[in-house]
Each structure stands twice: as structure tokens, then as C-alpha cells.
């Protein structure tokens, strides 16, 4: 019975109707691409607001909504869920989660989205629970504790559905938590497996942490991963080691911080790992979207994994074996002197935080971050929003205390620097730049490429715009009046294509009708 149920669930996931958006990154390969072509170069100039929905929270609105079965499922900060009627934009139900006072969280009580399987909606909460809701009513089906929020474990990422399991990552590496990735039975909420992202004594990689430093080693899993059903592997990226900026107490590579992990979907066992930034002292979390692409690599078809890293390098790996294939710089940097033949960087000692201050490019927000890249199978280009900014880091004393910051440096901006951003389009197999579109400030919003050969993006000054996906030419824009901290997405409803983006505290939904 259990197997049959799993099979049925599997079929439900596969049965995504054209124009739906059923998972955070649009598909299991995390292309963040919509094949819809109704809005295209000929009519994008006529895009108009169809409806908007306003949230009450003043926290950053980082959600990417899901659309399935004629309903939009939207997470709201801190950890609420709203189902919206696609015809009117009016709410059908709310799930309001009361959050305890004083949840320690580095970067706002935010949430990036929900997961959907069959008739159940899943949300990870800022107080570190995983909650299953009836998709028809919003009623709680089950609610399990993933970790103790008092130790600063929080959940901000959208969970990922893999067959009959819900995969959940956690945040908290600024507070010395020990990272992990969890899988839960979708029906019961029972935990199926846990993979600790810092190894304990005797485990693989434990020699990369002196003493008990692994206990506070971070390597958190705060951004949704991807899944290859043929290989049955989950790909999940990890964040900085703790403390962020003081490497003295954790000499060694600090596995599996700043890495990509390939885990068996059924058991959570590690198949391979690749560490982008060993012994990181610059808070270069690798929590970026791992995109999966099957392509011809030097004349042979190969299963690839693409990741534009916060550390300014774009990586191509073989996702069957984890073999390093390419690293290509895409933003200003000074932390790495070079990248070796196996992908291991040679760090620049001058960028280690010091008492007199170390100038580091990129700053700790990185050249890329959690916001999504996009890939178009039509243009065969990889699109990435890029941040160009540096900062000074001054080393300070730090000691682990439960629920307190565990950092080891403070940051100061560079006087008179004008940081900026750019939407860059590059060829995924070489990293060669095809074009770029500069924006005023380093962006915090993701990208959506569509079958209409458009790329949508937003800025910190509230501009939402569409470019020609082939040339990068500006085709349409609107001033939304709010900072854009989210990824655009697109869906079809009753024969009309819509594009949705969260801006300020509003979700805006556009069409070209």
C-alpha cells in the first residue's frame, strides 16, 4: 500500500499541467524557466497590472508563489501561508502562525516559499517547524519540530518535494549551529533521515575540524536544492562555517561548509561532495541554486550541475561523480589568487579579516546569493543577477554562546564606493558572457526566462522590467514603489499568461491582455 501511495504521489508530481508552477524553482532541475510564450517581444510593452495582494508584515517579502489546480499558494513573512483565487486575487484561506518572541535570526523573519504535493501544502517556519496544511482549507494536518529555535535554528527556504518525502534545510550559521539536511515522510511528518553537514568524530571529513569545533560549525542548508530522478540524487548547497570570519578556531577545510552535496534521496547518504571555498573566512555561503543541465560537454553527452557561487566563480560539475569541470570568474574578486585544476582555490592571505581591516571583494552578501538564476532552453543562456560590492572586515574576538552571534569580525563599507549590479547572460558550458544589463544597486531579486524569449528582473529601487532574452535589450519596465527581494514566476490561468513578482509588501500580477 505504501508503495502504491508513493507511486501515485510520483504521478501527481509528474502531472504538472502546462502553465503551472508547482515547485520553488519551477522544476526539479531548478531552471526557474517558464515555457509560456503568450507574452513575448511583440506584446510585452502592453503588460499591465491585473491584480495585487498586500501582506501585513514589514519584513522582506522574498516568496516565490506556487500555482497549481487554479490556486496560488503564497508564503508570507514570517511563516504564514495564503491561498489566492487566480481570477480575483482574493484570499481563499490564511494559515497564520504565531511566532514566539526573540527568535534569533541573522537576516530577517523571512520565508521564500512553500512546497506542494497532492492536496497538501508544506511550509518551514522561522521557529524551525515543518507544517503540513490541507491545500483546500489551510487546516493543519501535522506540525513537527525540525530543530530548537532557541539555539537559532530557523527555516526560511521553501521545502523540496522528492517522491514521498519533504526535504527541509535550516539556517543559523551566524549563531554557531551545527548544520543538517532533513527528509520527512510527506504523509505522516515522521523524519526519514538526517544528514549532518559537519561530520562528528570518526565520520568522513572529521579531520577537517579540530577539537569540538564541528559542533558549532554552521554549514547550514538554507536554500532549496534540486533533484535528479534518474540518478535519485538530491543536490543541496551549504553555507559558511562558524564562526563566519575567524578561522583560527577551526583550522582545516571545514567540510561540508560552502559545498554542494549529492545525497541519495531515499537514505540521505552522501554520494559525493564538492567544496567551493575550503576554510572560508569571508562568509562565502554557497547557498545558491544548483541547476541541473544535460548537455554535450567536449563532444560527449554529460549530466551537469551549474552553480554561480557567492564567491564570484561560476562552476560546472559532473553531477554523476562530482568531477570538477569549470570555474569561471563573473564578478570582481580578490579573495582567490587562482583556482587549481581540481577546482580548489588558492586563497589570498590579505583578505583574511584582521585588526587593521581587510579589503574583500565580494562582500559577505556575495556576487550571487539566494536569488534564482534562470536557464532558457531556447536561447541556451544562463542568466544571473550579479552584485558588485566590496567591504572591509575587522577581526574581533568571538565565543560560542547558544543563540548568540558567533561571527569573529565586523564589516565596514568602502567610503565613496558606488556598488552596482548587473544582469549577466552567459553560455553555460564556457561561462563566456553573451551580454549584460547594468542596474543601479546590487540586486536581491532573481530572474525568470520565458518561452517568449524574455527575461524578467527587479531592482532594489523598485523597477520591474523585461529584457530581450537574446540581446539583453530593455523592452518593458514599471516602477513598483518597493524593493524587490524575490524571484519572478509565470503561470497560465484560463488561457492567459501572468507574471508575478513580490515588490515591497505587495505581490504584483501582470498580464498583456
Amino acid at each position: 500500500v505504501r508503495h502504491l501511495w508513493g507511486l501515485l504521489l510520483g504521478l501527481t508530481v509528474l502531472a504538472q499541467a502546462p502553465g503551472e508552477w508547482r515547485t520553488y524553482s519551477g522544476n526539479d532541475s531548478a531552471h526557474h524557466y517558464s515555457p509560456l510564450a503568450q507574452i513575448n517581444k511583440t506584446n510585452v510593452g502592453r503588460m499591465k497590472l491585473s491584480w495585487m495582494y498586500q501582506i501585513q508584515s514589514r519584513q522582506h517579502f522574498e516568496a516565490t508563489p506556487l500555482v497549481a489546480n487554479g490556486v496560488m499558494y503564497l508564503s508570507e513573512p514570517p511563516s504564514d501561508v495564503t491561498a489566492l483565487d487566480l481570477k480575483s486575487g482574493r484570499p481563499l484561506w490564511h494559515y497564520r502562525r504565531p511566532i514566539p518572541e526573540g527568535v534569533p535570526v541573522c537576516c530577517g523573519q523571512v520565508n521564500r516559499g512553500v512546497a506542494l504535493l497532492g492536496d497538501t501544502v508544506y511550509i518551514g517556519t522561522i521557529d524551525s517547524h515543518l507544517v503540513a496544511l490541507d491545500a483546500a482549507t489551510g487546516r493543519v494536518r501535522w506540525d513537527v519540530e525540525v530543530a530548537d529555535y532557541k539555539l537559532a535554528y530557523t527555516i526560511t527556504a521553501a521545502p523540496l518535494v522528492v517522491k514521498d518525502k519533504i526535504i527541509v534545510g535550516i539556517a543559523g550559521a551566524e549563531y554557531g549551529v551545527r548544520g543538517f539536511l532533513d527528509a520527512y515522510d510527506a504523509r505522516t511528518g515522521k523524519r526519514a533521515w538526517r544528514f549532518w553537514t559537519t561530520p562528528g568524530p570518526g565520520e568522513f571529513g572529521s579531520e577537517t575540524w579540530p577539537g569540538d569545533s564541528w559542533k558549532y560549525g554552521g554549514a547550514t542548508t538554507w536554500l532549496t536544492g534540486s533533484y535528479d530522478p534518474q540518478l535519485n540524487l538530491i543536490y543541496w548547497s551549504t553555507g559558511n562555517p562558524g564562526p563566519d570570519y575567524d578561522g583560527d578556531v577551526r583550522k582545516g577545510d571545514n567540510l561540508f561548509s560552502d559545498s554542494i552535496l549529492a545525497l541519495d534521496a531515499d537514505t540521505g547518504k552522501r554520494k559525493w561532495h564538492f567544496q567551493f571555498t575550503p576554510h572560508d573566512v569571508n562568509d562565502l555561503d554557497s547557498n545558491q541554486i544548483p541547476m541541473l543541465l544535460d548537455a554535450e560537454w567536449k563532444g560527449k553527452p554529460r549530466k551537469l550541475l551549474l552553480l554561480a557561487n557567492r564567491n564570484t566563480f561560476y562552476y560546472v560539475l559532473d553531477r554523476v561523480t562530482g568531477e570538477f569541470l569549470l570555474a569561471k570568474n563573473f564578478a570582481k574578486q580578490n579573495w582567490a589568487l587562482s583556482i587549481g585544476p581540481t577546482g580548489r582555490p588558492v586563497p589570498n592571505p590579505e583578505t583574511e579579516p584582521s585588526a587593521k581591516g581587510a579589503l574583500v571583494y565580494p562582500d559577505d552578501d556575495g556576487s550571487a546569493n539566494w536569488f534564482s538564476p534562470s536557464y532558457s532552453p531556447r536561447t541556451k543562456l544562463f542568466y544571473q543577477n550579479v552584485r558588485e560590492k566590496g567591504a572591509y572586515y575587522f577581526k574581533t574576538e568571538t565565543q560560542y554562546q547558544p543563540g548568540r552571534f558567533y561571527l569573529g569580525a565586523f564589516k565596514r563599507d568602502i567610503p565613496n564606493e558606488e556598488p552596482y549590479g548587473a544582469l549577466r547572460a552567459w553560455r553555460p558550458l564556457s561561462g563566456d558572457l553573451a551580454w549584460e544589463f547594468k542596474v543601479h544597486s546590487p540586486p536581491w531579486g532573481g530572474l525568470l526566462a520565458t518561452g517568449g524569449d524574455l527575461v524578467f528582473s527587479g531592482t532594489m529601487e523598485g523597477d520591474f522590467f523585461a529584457l530581450d532574452a537574446v540581446t539583453g535589450k530593455l523592452l518593458w519596465r514599471i516602477q513598483t514603489g518597493g524593493e524587490i527581494w524575490a524571484n519572478p514566476m509565470s503561470y497560465l490561468f484560463q488561457g492567459t499568461q501572468y507574471v508575478a513578482i513580490a515588490a515591497g509588501s505587495a505581490l504584483l500580477v501582470f498580464s498583456a491582455e
Partner: protein, 152 residues
């Protein structure tokens, strides 16, 4: 009611009995930053009330003699050239990917689409504030710095 820049000019009341740092502030700084450090209409100078809690004494000392070293956002000077050859200079009020708003001396705000401009020049390292190097003595600069740094 918000006061215009002229009102700011005429409400400066030097206090003879005040300590040196404070009297220097009233004589030299208040004209642009406001006598209570409230910032004057954002026309000239940024808010200074409580500046000691936001900036170190070393930073403040540098700002007095080299105000262009770290110009606060909202006071960065721009010079733009329109397509028909008009030149406009002012402090940047706001800028985004597509537009620019500058405030001219006197307070008038001008707004431009960047696509309508021939040239946009950021005057890096230039501040609307004059340098006090040579204007005030070293001991006066120290007194003024101490006054500002102690303003919590």
C-alpha cells in the same frame, strides 16, 4: 512647517557663553546642518544630532578637513548634461537604473530619465561642504571634533 534654506541661514544664534566646540558648531556648521543638528531641509547638510553615536571621532575629524572622503548617500554631487546642452549640478536625491533626481543649491529638485541625458557625471570625492583645513586652527578642529563626537 518645514523651513526653507533661507530660514536656516537666519536662525543661527551664536552663543557667546557656550563651550568652544559648541560655539564653533553654531558659528560654522549650523547654517547647513541646523542649530539643533536636525539637518536643514536636506538642502545642504545631513542630520548631525546624535552623530557621536554613529561616527567615530577620527571619522568626524577627517570629515571637517576632507569632507569629500566619505560623502553620505543623498549628498553625492552630480553634474548632468541634457540632450539640448543644459548643465545641471546638484546633490543626488535619488537614483535608480532608469532615472536620476538631483537637488540644486537652493533646494529645487530636478528629475531626469537617464535616456534623456547626454552625460551623467558623478563628482567623486566632492562634497557640497567646504573644507575647514586652514579655516579653523588645529585646536579649534579638536574642540569641534570633541563636541560632535560627544553628541550622543
Amino acid at each position: 512647517m518645514r523651513r526653507g534654506w533661507l530660514a536656516c541661514l537666519i536662525t543661527v544664534l551664536p552663543l557667546a557663553a557656550a563651550p568652544t566646540g559648541e560655539s564653533l558648531f553654531l558659528a560654522q556648521c549650523a547654517v547647513c546642518h541646523g542649530e539643533r543638528g536636525e539637518g536643514c531641509h536636506r538642502t545642504f547638510g545631513p542630520e548631525l544630532a546624535g552623530i557621536g553615536g554613529r561616527r567615530s571621532a577620527a571619522h568626524l575629524r577627517t570629515s571637517l578637513t576632507d569632507p569629500g572622503a566619505d560623502v553620505p548617500a543623498g549628498f553625492v554631487m552630480f553634474e548632468v548634461m541634457t540632450m539640448d546642452g543644459r548643465k545641471v549640478t546638484g546633490a543626488r536625491v535619488n537614483e535608480d537604473t532608469f532615472s536620476l533626481q538631483v537637488r540644486e543649491v537652493g533646494g529645487a529638485v530636478r528629475s531626469f530619465w537617464k535616456s534623456e541625458l547626454k552625460e551623467v557625471k558623478k563628482q567623486a570625492g566632492r562634497s557640497p561642504m567646504p573644507s575647514y583645513r586652514g579655516v579653523l586652527s588645529e585646536s579649534e578642529l579638536d574642540d569641534l571634533t570633541a563636541f560632535l563626537a560627544g553628541w550622543m
